[in-house]
Amino acid sequence: MTRMSYREAARLALAEEMRRDPRVWALGEDLGRGGVFGQYQGLQEEFGPERVVDTPISEAAIMAVAVGAAMAGTRPVVEMRFSDFALCAIDELVNQAAKARYMFGGQCRVPLVVREPIGMWRSSAAQHSQSLEAWYVHIPGLVVLAPATPADNRALLKAAIRCDDPVVYLEHKNLWPLEGEVPEAEEVAEIGRARRLRFGNDLTLVSWSATVHAAAEAAETLADEGIDVDLLDLRSLWPWDKEAVLESAARTGRLIVAHEAVRVSGFGAEIAATVAEELGIPVARLGAPRIPVPYSPPLEAELQVTAEAIAAAARRLLARNVGGRV
């Protein structure tokens, strides 16, 4: 194990994959100077401007180029800078990348990774703070990943680059400096497996990305109160680890899903609905209110799904005088 940051883990993963496979390349704005968050630092020096490509401010072209380049035998890693700007390239991602393999009857594949830094961070306001994972999960053809730790950011990014289908890769802006243990050995994650952070029999708590850390804090608080939370970090949103979630929920009899994205029609709804359909146990969801992200800190704070809010929701769910399987 080595200690490194979420940022450094991502950088390392990309460097390792680029060394391993000459077809892997990265494209995006300002990559030569390390990218907006330093997550590409040093890569252009190592791999040259042909494989770490500085692009014009042309999000639609960046994505379209990646689609064409993937169809033509390379494995592009697309940097979208802020996930919000990916909205300038949605036709390219959803109507082209996600569908090409299918529309062409399997004649081609589109092995690309779209990196989209998500989430609220330093008063970035409405056009630089979104988390739209629910959108991507809804689109056939896409794989959707959202690492919460340095180790996962290394292992999942490597898996994403090796995936033969388009992957939407959501890194949380608040996590870049987060330090954690990363295995010495080159680990490639198995996509679709949740990670259990804590074992418990009282309540299942499912989360992903930065909210995992609030969830872990809430679980700790609840543990002090004698409530044992089974905490799962989903990591992969499509495919998602239905088996793990259902096993846990069936065992605990209660489910809470917590995410940073807007609660209404968020991906929490899919998980809660699935668990409700399959198990009929009490469920609850936490997410941001349906509000664009405001700039001012006290306003931004209104939208945050905090450890306190998660713990409170858990207490409320446990207080319901129902439970177990229906």
Binding site: A60, A61, A64, E92, Q96, R101, F104, G105, G106, Q107
Partner: protein, 338 residues
């Protein structure tokens, strides 16, 4: 095919271009017929009247070159060498179709001949073509990428972004704007400001030429010359070809928004008729020309006959080729849905 831009009276070449045009025309006629009979359910966009662009440009490409096209892409695809039977079957949604019936006319593609797809989104292939060319460069291949789009496409953002990209990275792409005068039911010129597509390309750093898109020899000459420049590393080039859409936008559009007289006068400029004249001048007899035509039509007619008899795809096929990880399967679905 020599790289010269000068008029070329080579009979064989002209015969080949002519045959390709005739085949395309026949394909479109039979596709329309099949549509009338309800055998083609989705929209088709016939390219009747525009065959010279397809033949002139695509016959100038090598098999290993990539081609990207539009919703009006039957002609380009045939000229690139795709199997007409698989194409006809695709239009009818049959199992042996190029995309197993999953794409239909607007998503015609044949990767075995380098045809990377039509596209249902206007202008979307421009950036994708730049990307294919970027891959060609990265992989050190010798291919050229050809991207054909309509006059309507020059008003979409991807035109600017894709051309700028290709120019900045000096990529081997031939952009072809096939101006048939219309974007669906609208005369494109009225909604396209400035001096036109070629001027836009030049402002984006891409040189090119303008040709009479109904003169197959002129198109072929221009395409060959531009491709030669691209092949020696000259970067992207632009070909602007003016032609006319003789039919409606789709099989259900009568094209009533234009005067009958205009359409009639344009029929007189039909590129196949004009090529026939060139062949006559090149010394072919009426019988020889008729024989060429019959020969070009026959495989197309066989293709449609066979396609009409081709089997439907098995319903399970709907579930395949979505993605490897996280694919849903019929068994799951049946459970979910019932």
């Amino acid at each position: 095919m020599n790289g010269s831009a000068a008029p070329n009276l080579d009979r064989d070449r002209l015969c080949r271009l002519f045959s390709v045009m005739v085949a395309i025309r026949r394909f479109e006629e039979l596709a329309l017929e099949a549509a009338r009979e309800g055998l083609v359910k989705g929209a088709i966009h016939p390219s009747i009247g525009q065959e010279a662009v397809a033949a002139g440009v695509c016959c100038a490409l090598r098999r290993e070159d990539y081609l990207l096209s539009t919703h009006r892409g039957h002609g380009h695809t045939l000229a690139k060498g795709a199997d007409p039977f698989a194409m006809a079957a695709e239009l009818m949604g049959r199992r042996p179709g190029t995309s197993k019936g999953k794409g239909g006319s607007m998503h015609i593609a044949d990767f075995t001949v380098g045809m990377l797809g039509a596209n249902g989104v206007v202008a979307a292939n421009i950036g994708i073509a730049a990307g294919a060319a970027h891959a060609v460069r990265l992989l050190g291949e010798a291919r050229v990428v050809c991207c054909i789009f309509g006059d309507g496409a020059v008003n979409r953002g991807p035109f600017l972004e894709g051309l700028n990209w290709a120019a900045v990275f000096k990529l081997p792409v031939l952009f072809v704007c096939e101006d048939n005068g219309f974007a669906a039911t609208t005369r494109t010129r009225a909604l396209t400001a400035g001096p036109g597509p070629l001027a836009r390309a030049r402002a984006l750093g891409i040189e090119g030429v303008s040709v009479d898109g109904n003169d197959v020899r002129a198109v072929a000459d221009a395409a060959e010359a531009l491709l030669a420049e691209i092949r020696v590393g000259g970067g992207p080039r632009f070909l602007y070809a003016e032609t006319y859409r003789l039919m409606g936008h789709t099989q259900t559009d009568a094209g009533a928004y234009r005067p009958v007289a205009e359409v009639e006068s344009r029929w007189r400029l039909c590129p196949i008729a004009r090529a026939r004249e060139l062949l006559t001048r090149a010394g072919l007899s009426t019988e020889e020309i008729a024989a060429l035509e019959a020969e070009a039509r026959a495989p197309i007619e066989q293709a449609f006959t066979a396609a009409r008899a081709a089997p439907w795809p098995e319903p399970e096929l709907a579930w395949m080729d979505v993605q490897d990880l996280g694919a849903e399967w019929p068994v799951t679905a049946a459970e979910i849905r019932l």
